[in-house]
């Protein structure tokens, strides 16, 4: 049995979810890693696989061609901006976003950005488009900051997503996380998303929780993952139980199988 819960967004719901998260520490062992690797190795692939929660939610359908836009750039810039405002509370979200964008442009000018990266795209944008990026990123930072402000426990903006390379399986897993809340020795993950949660939002959260656990060097599993959909005013959460982790790993392997089929169909 899995532990998906559904709540309406209110001022104290995040604190309640963090307080009530399971307090027993759960660890993934080398056996778990070997078992995951064996399952992915059994799924043939013509190229290196990149899997994430979105892929699980879309039942393994490959991504359409990615293009940078204000909407696709807002999370990276918004999270970085929120991190800056934590370090310097005198900054507003707009100030922090402007500094972050300038930083990206400097990185490109200094030759540190590769082609196709966010910095490279920003450098090709007109001031109007950069203005739109700034507005979208500030929207993101404000919404995430507003949610985080109500949290009583110590929290940080995640410095990066969780990545896990499955050994000898040509597979990289990416788990998204926006905030990491610590309570004693345990941690709770929070992910903010646009729109409204669909029927497969729960499996998506489970996948994020599973990938985060595999990406942790000690194998310590976060006690709970919380998905926040501010546009719909909905909060979903999944607890760290062995059943949930198994289900999360199974969903990822199924996504890999489906992705392989799509790739074969496309090649034919």
């Amino acid at each position: 049995m899995t532990t998906l819960s559904h709540q309406r967004l209110s001022k104290h719901v995040l604190n309640r979810l963090i307080d009530d998260a399971p307090s027993d520490a759960l660890f993934l062992t080398d056996d778990h890693r070997r078992s995951l690797s064996a399952r992915f190795r059994a799924v043939a692939s013509v190229e290196h696989r990149r899997l994430d929660a979105w892929m699980v939610e879309r039942a393994g359908q490959p991504y359409e061609t990615f293009r940078w836009s204000p909407a696709t750039a807002r999370r990276a810039i918004g999270n970085a901006a929120l991190r800056r405002t934590l370090n310097d509370p005198a900054l507003t979200n707009f100030d922090a976003v402007d500094i972050e964008i300038t930083d990206q442009l400097l990185r490109y000018a200094a030759g540190y950005a590769r082609g196709g990266s966010l910095a490279s795209w920003l450098s090709s944008c007109s001031p109007t488009v950069i203005g739109m990026v700034s507005v979208e990123a500030a929207n993101w930072a404000t919404q995430l900051g507003e949610a985080a402000e109500a949290i009583h426990h110590p929290w940080i903006v995640a410095t990066s997503d969780a990545y896990y390379d499955v050994a000898r399986a040509r597979t990289t897993l990416r788990g998204r996380r926006d905030l990491v809340v610590t309570k004693g020795l345990t941690r709770t993950l929070l992910r903010m998303r646009a729109g409204a949660p669909g029927k497969s939002a729960g499996p998506g959260l489970r996948a994020d929780l599973t990938i985060d656990a595999f990406a942790d060097s000690s194998g310590l599993v976060a006690s709970r993952v919380i998905g926040l959909w501010p546009e719909a005013g909905v909060v979903l959460s999944v607890d760290a139980t062995m059943d949930d982790l198994r289900a999360g790993a199974r969903d990822l392997v199924r996504a890999a199988v489906a992705l392989g089929r799509h790739q074969l169909t496309r090649a034919a």
Partner: protein, 265 residues
């Protein structure tokens, strides 16, 4: 307190923010009651049966009688509205807008890519495009003149979408707030909502104000301080403080639209 100004105010932002000392304590308890009222009302109108396709209510459902045609809903009217919203977004981010039409068109395209409406604009004849450009520039001048100073300390957010599923999925409330300032995290009510329209304000505008307040309350469980609407066609600003009576009327408006939709079906 409700203020209805028939002349263009000195600044929309001044009215939106109001006087800080007189703000009430944030109401975080009314949302559940409103939701229950809506759920009961929806059950009365639609019954227990699950519909094949959910009924979707938007602000456009409240603006006009369901059976009438509004010229502002034409493709040209929609494009004009979208472009003025882009101008508002750029202004809220502190971007100076010199050539309203070109810049808003660029902002819109980078945001949505290609769709039916962008194709429609591409296919406009040169004289129609010139008319649209002049129209957007004129509305933009009214907006810029009236908006006033928007401090980034007020946490402005633009084009905020809201989505509420009610009646077991039979009814979906959709909303887009053009500009929101303030925060739901403070102890006093500080969230102000602004809808910018390129049509003159009419009877439906009051319903839209209430709808914005209602959906925002359902979404965040916190009642906003103020809901406002500004017309770039006339320079009029309507603004009302949100209280329980206004929210209850918002519930009645939604149920009224539902009844009309059911009769039409």
């Amino acid at each position: 307190m409700t203020s209805v100004l028939d002349a263009s105010p000195l600044s929309v932002m001044d009215v939106l923010r109001g006087v800080r000392d007189t703000r009430p304590v944030a109401n975080t308890t009314s949302a559940a009651g409103l939701r229950a009222q809506l759920e009961d009302g929806i059950f009365d109108v639609l019954g227990p049966k699950l519909l094949d396709t959910p009924l979707t209510i938007r602000t456009s459902s409240l603006r006009v009688n369901v059976a009438t045609i509004n010229l502002s809903n034409s493709s040209l009217g929609q494009v004009r509205g979208i472009l003025i919203t882009q101008v508002l977004r750029l202004l809220s981010g502190g971007v100076p807008v010199e050539h309203a039409f070109d810049e808003s068109l660029m902002a819109w395209r980078c945001d949505v890519g290609d769709n039916e409406l962008t194709t429609y604009v591409d296919q406009l004849a040169p004289d129609e495009l010139a008319r649209l450009s002049t129209d957007v520039s004129a509305h933009s001048v009214t907006l810029k003149r009236s908006l006033g100073t928007l401090s980034s300390r007020w946490q402005p957010r633009t084009s905020l979408r809201a989505y509420q599923r009610l009646g077991g999925g039979n009814v979906i409330l959709r909303d887009v707030i053009d500009l929101m300032v303030g925060t739901t995290a403070s102890h006093e009510a500080s969230v102000a909502l602004l809808d910018v329209t390129t049509s003159p304000l009419g009877e439906g505008a009051e319903r839209v104000l209430r709808y914005h307040a209602l959906v925002q309350t359902l979404r965040t469980s916190t009642v906003p301080l103020r809901s406002s609407m500004f017309s770039t066609a006339t320079g009029e600003l309507w603004s009302c403080d949100v209280d329980n009576e206004l929210l209850a009327r918002g519930v009645d408006d939604v149920l009224g639209v539902l009844r009309a939709m059911k009769e039409m079906a």
